[in-house]
């Protein structure tokens, strides 16, 4: 035990006087105590505590990537922290079931006292979105307005300052784009890859054309989708095409970052790619869990209010459903399967490359 440590007691350490004294029921204040308001408050306070923890982890990860160079040892802890983020997100998703033990009628018994409070006013949630990479330009129009109108001046400044800082998305994009491997290598991976994917796409087209189950309407739709996939592939091999697609919103990652990520995913079993692969997978999962949270949240609000307006004076579930898909951040990782080849179609890495991807020791 270290010397000169003052005794530390459970209740003081956790500041339980603050934590457990922070539930002031509005319904009690107005003389009509509603039993379920306690649940409503506690559930939201727990969410805010988890948000605080998520921000604690994300900020540490951002700080790591915000350095001149990321050391190998640090990547271990980055992945560890992102895995913790995911586990907390899963718990937060399950927590929606707790809120749903409140019936709509029970909610109505205190809803009128809460005007105009609204979950959209959670600054920490906005910090989370912005830190991950959901900056103003990516918000849907409706969202943009609601978002800034509802803020206090202090909060608006805080968030605007945060928007100026590099987000995790931007930092990871740069880190991937900088990966030295692809540029120094004289192994012609991308030529090989191009040939193999051309073949794969042609096979897919043939499958659609021969598929007896499809109606003509469906076939046309499928071929149109195929055409768009074809164009995305063209972007991989042509920087200008890629920039066009980027401007159209078909991609968010830079061209270099996308290629690095693709290479890592293709050769993920190489030891040197193990941590980067885990990083990409974790970010994909974080995005998926956040999407799921929005979706379940929207359903819960609908179940609680139907088409009634919420306490913030707008019908929350429409808004929430709209943002479910539009606010995705690492969607390029999520969609990356589009571009993957099966192991058997990939060229074996030359020995010289392999050696550079392994550990020195063994």
């Amino acid at each position: 035990m270290k010397k000169n440590i003052e005794p530390c007691y459970y209740g003081d350490y956790l500041a339980l006087d603050k934590i457990l004294g922070a539930q002031k029921l509005q319904s009690t204040k107005y003389g009509e105590p509603a039993h379920e308001e306690m649940l409503f408050i506690v559930v939201h306070q727990v969410y805010e505590l988890w948000f605080k923890q998520l921000l604690h982890e994300l900020n540490a990860v951002i700080d790591t990537f915000n350095q001149a160079a990321v050391k190998d040892q640090q990547l271990t802890s980055v992945v560890h922290r992102l895995h913790r983020v995911i586990q907390i997100q899963k718990l937060m998703n399950d927590q929606i079931g707790i809120m749903e033990t409140m019936t709509p009628q029970q909610f109505l018994s205190f809803r009128d006292y809460l005007v105009p409070a609204s979950g959209f006013q959670s600054i920490q949630f906005k910090q989370l979105e912005i830190s991950l990479g959901l900056k103003r330009e990516y918000r849907i129009d409706f969202d943009k307005q609601s978002f800034y109108n509802r803020l206090s001046d202090d909060d608006r400044s805080l968030l605007e300052a945060l928007e100026e800082k590099p987000s995790l998305f931007e930092l990871v994009d740069k880190w991937l784009a900088r990966m030295p491997l692809l540029k120094t290598e004289d192994f012609h991976f991308w030529d090989y890859y191009r040939k193999a994917t051309d073949e794969m796409l042609n096979d897919d087209k043939e499958t659609i054309e021969r598929n007896a189950f499809l109606s003509e309407v469906e076939r046309r739709q499928e071929l149109k989708d195929w055409q768009s996939t074809r164009e995305n592939f063209d972007g991989l091999f042509n920087h200008e095409t890629y920039e066009d697609l980027l401007n159209q919103g078909k991609f968010r990652l830079s061209h270099e970052a996308l290629l690095s990520a693709l290479f890592i995913k293709q050769y993920s079993e190489e030891p040197v790619f193990n941590l980067p692969f885990q990083l990409i997978t974790a970010l994909t999962e974080i995005d998926e869990q956040l999407t799921l949270w929005r979706y379940r949240h929207a359903m819960m609000v609908q179940r609680m209010l139907g088409t009634k307006i919420g306490t913030g004076g707008s019908s929350g579930h429409h808004y929430l459903k709209k943002t479910t898909e539009s606010n995705r951040i690492f969607l390029d990782f999520f969609n990356m399967a589009t571009f993957l080849l099966p192991k058997s179609s990939l060229p074996e890495l030359p020995e010289s490359v392999k050696r550079r991807l392994g550990f020195y020791l063994q």
Copy 2:
């Protein structure tokens, strides 16, 4: 112990020779064994076993409602069975995480051997949807075609026969519509209710109009939504209006059934309404879990294939996302919060009514 019972052994009882001998890897057949194909098969087989169990429960519930009269004792077991359905659904939703331990690249190593198999060919899943109430007329157009084109003749006949039978939705609708209470009572609940809801709606409108946070665009949208809610309320009090809304697809339940359900939800603490309330809540939950399953399933397919076509020769995740919301069955229960009043705005039930809603014994 009963006499004359032959001994029963674990392996025989569970037919483990069949169950554990039913994993034939296509990749092995073609000489390129893919480790993850086992997972793919086992996960799907487990889903089919759960589907069988869900059908076992649903069919029992349907049989109960398909009688001249439903006895009180039977309602207990209906609710018990529906709660089991929900718990299985939750497990099935979590099971998607198991499939996601397969990387897209691992899937690619055997995907080509599976053409044209597709999860859309699960007859049991279609039986489930039809038994719940998703009949042909409610399927989206795209779905209708895919659905019937892909079936074998036997399966098509089986499903078409099932469509002729009453679904759980139809049976519950009739059961609710027949509930005697509302018709025999001379307690003027609906007059009272109308007055109270008018007030609530006017308050909501005022809130929208006074909400300083809304932009003009948002306010117009909110008022439009409010107007549509207003019209739905009008339907409650006017049978013709209701029929119009029903034809427009704004409701699916019959007018009488909706009113009964609403009454039950408003007075759910009355003992006689306890089981009916649990029934409605359970059906709402089943619908929510099914919706969640579709949504998570769609995300999983997207993560596995990106925008590539699936083994069935079409891009599954578009289709799946489209059906996520459109294939909802008990949506009226889900949206019922729209019409609920807080307890404090409800008239106290007259003693005579209360007595009839309580138990004789106490």
Copy 3:
């Protein structure tokens, strides 16, 4: 919307300044910030918030049972609240996985600053145990001492006062014991039951004696267990025998309460027993979840510390494992399966009884 309601804002409503300002890291105070201490604090604060919510629900349930008579309408809400308790418990159990994302080495980086804080000092957890029914006389010896030694004077007074009040266990016991049905009925259920269970027990004995798989040691053990089950059955039919078994700690429920609970479980499909059956099942589940929590908690502490002493200066996981089984409260409900008969061996209830168990209305 109600008039004269002051505006209520999200951050103020949830007292986020208190909640989010309550994380003071000891490691920071001593100049060696440990990243994971934030997780440690937040996880414990979330637990304390859930404890507060559980106490809120349990106290409301206790108040209901603490009245002269429990109305039917109130039973609905009792069951609703206990179901919420269970769902929160399940989330709390899953939350242990979050703590386990902290490695033992990470914990070591701040453990020394926490002496002598200890989870055993959570007053709310003790309130929970006492409110449920874990009073001093049921604690194991080791527990008794640790329990009271570590408390501040105020906390000791608070808990001692709570021990004087009736617990949920005691109130439910009384409520069950008072159930009128069994005493007024001239239907000789228990005679019938005695005959049927004698037969069942004799069958079981025969099965043990004929079981070719058992070694002699095992057979002796099984017959000894059977004998003890036989004695418990005798207690059902003889008040004095029951009192003896109660004094030996084989039962905790009063004789009358146990018989009522057994009758309810046997005829649970009768509408009048639906809510009481749900109540008993919910209390069983609460006990199971609490047991699971202790067990997982003990494993987590062992994983974090091995056989090292904890910050409270004792090796927590030994203590926790000891209390896992010994601190069970509603164990009689859990073990009740011992006494159940299959439906087919039960007498049909006479019409006169059935009518009294149904609803008047139908």
Copy 4:
């Protein structure tokens, strides 16, 4: 798409005729169909399917370790597979909740038809235990007898043959023991470590002695526990002492393996240790989940049968509780926290060592 691939249909591919035709209810055979027997069968069949998948993963991992040398690339896939095992185990644990939707009374309606079937007859579960490392010598006495008596000749031969093969425990032990690092290094880690742990232990002793909350009985117990921890530490530094402790059952890993594991855990952030650390953590988690499964399973059996004997003719839950703790396999990893030092007490690795632990590339 590959050429010459025959079409593959969903139902055929999954052998649904076998899978869905494998539910033969005993209660139906004897003319008294019990609704819940379907659930009982399906739940067990799903468990057996998951067991098959777990064996598929474990056998692949065992094959990898059973080679002359484990390549880095292979370690990636070992960890990936073990993570999948854990996720399946978590689902299996949650699945116990499904079985618990069957009430004890419902189970009684078909229990008598199942004699003498018993879950203990699951060969796959035994294969799993043996493959992980639970060989005959580690089974508790009671278990040993039941285990072999109940088997058919074929199954006994199969399991006895499996016992001759190296288990995952043995293979991982050897792999750890062979790790070159510790032997070739002239960096005197263990001298340093010894000094630091001596200090830590003395501090702990002082904490116990000064802890005012402990009664004298408790203090004696704590000091006895401390003494035993002290002896375990001595084992680390003295091969003979270690062998003694091994023979007493205090350790299961070989001395060399334990030291390697400890070094890996202490310096887990080094890139070369990332995968080994993940491996150790995954095995710890597998053991924890298996333990949890036994515990929840024992509780479920108790809830279903009370102290009644099971269909196998013995009281299952006693047996199950006994094996919960005794059948642990990777307990040394679980307890390893005992020996860990905080990062701040560890010597910085010399540059020469660090370089060998990093990647060549960067």
